[in-house]
Amino acid sequence: MTPEEQKAFEDRIYAYVGVKVCERTAAKDAVNPAMIRHWAEAMGDTNPAYTDETWAANSRRGKTIAPPAMMYAWNQEGFTVTRGRASDPQTDMVELFNEYGFTGVLGTNVTQEYFKEVSPGDTLYLEMEIDSISERKATARGIGYFFETLATFSDQNGEKVGTQRFRVLKFIPQEQPTAATGDDKLEVPTRIPSPRGHDNGWWWQAVDEGKLLIQRCKRCQVLRHPPRPMCGECQSLEWDSIESGMEGEVISYTCLRHPAIPGYPKDPVCAVIKLAEGTNLVANIVGCDYDDVFIGMKLKGRIEQVDEKTTLPQFYPA
């Protein structure tokens, strides 16, 4: 971009400062208990001020309130954005940035201030404008501009409920010489798999196919696990396997609390399990809390896919 081109671009971009993205518009739904409850469930928020009417009636507020952090949710456009957003001054401005190569987008800051709590029955009104656009900046992501939108929320009486400032960086994405390492970093971690060799590969293959097998000596019929090439009882190299019914009992157990390992659920419960067939197996116990596990507990297992790449025996309380 020549200095002249930059000037021309900036003249067009800065013209958006102060432009209204939307006039004061009522939310499609009034504040209501159902949407509040959905929100509280998803967030795992048990705050009774949001969902417990009996508690709230006796509280300082005398009634339930909407979670302040829901403020922006009420005025969202909703499902139609799956088919794309309607054009408005903000989308026009973004399009202009894109035209000039500032295709990168990164939300960097969001600040909500609340002046008033709202309750079921209230209706939120939103108006929004483009509040500021920074000068051209060199950032770690690339050359770009920060723009900030200011959303102002009010209620049905015109009283101001709160504001939201959202700061976004529009930037020219840098050539990424380190793309390879970038890709590597972006991979979603999965559990550390077992390598598969001659002596154990068949066992894991069966797990992939939904079966828990136990190796058996063809000569003396003794079962063994983990799989090994020779029978320790009669030294035969001949073996086959039986399918386990995946019933068992806890011999011992623990829970790995620290360190948290990428790709694993938090606090996995692991156990040594004596299978009904007589061999021991290490696997996870799921479907109950750690505190409910005990030595001697009866378990029933199934083969489950636990992440994108891993299928494992998982045991539940019987």
């Binding site: 929100w39 705050n47 909703g78 709590e117």
Partner: protein, 143 residues
């Protein structure tokens, strides 16, 4: 009054640490959080749309991050606390399979308004800082 208690302004001191909250980031939480905040941007529920932006899977929307941050604070403060401000700097995205640990510490008290500032950070175990900022609440000042 009930099993829910709320901290009194006088009970809180600068330097107090909030109990850590570790949150399993699952596809369910990401999609459920997006729906609950009426955010139907495809990148929050459609993996292929997310992948088109260069990320490997759907990622958490900002309103869910705000929700989790507000929950983290009111879990500690109790329900009579009034949230005044959520001021967040946004960092690395939260994706399924990660664990985000939120921690916080009281950094300031304003006696005249009864407001308490809490520095909060949510870090995921893969990419580090997801959100960082300050939550301001007002606490009851009388007994």
């Amino acid at each position: 009054m009930s099993e829910y208690t709320t901290l009194n302004y006088a009970d809180v001191h600068v330097g107090d640490k909030l109990p850590e909250l570790a949150i399993d980031i699952t596809t369910g939480l990401i999609v459920g959080g997006a729906m609950a905040t009426r955010d139907y941007e495809p990148v929050h529920h459609d993996k292929s749309a997310a992948q088109a932006t260069g990320l490997p899977d759907v990622f958490m929307n900002i309103l869910t991050s705000q929700g989790l941050m507000s929950r983290f604070v009111t879990d500690w403060s109790g329900p009579e606390a009034v949230i005044r401000k959520l001021d967040l700097k946004l960092g690395a995205p939260n994706l399924p399979g990660m664990v985000m640990t939120i921690s916080g510490e009281v950094t300031d008290k304003d006696d005249s308004s009864g407001q308490v500032s809490i520095a909060v950070v949510g870090e995921n175990n893969i990419w580090g800082m997801h959100m960082q900022g300050t939550v301001t609440i007002a606490l009851p000042q009388e007994a």
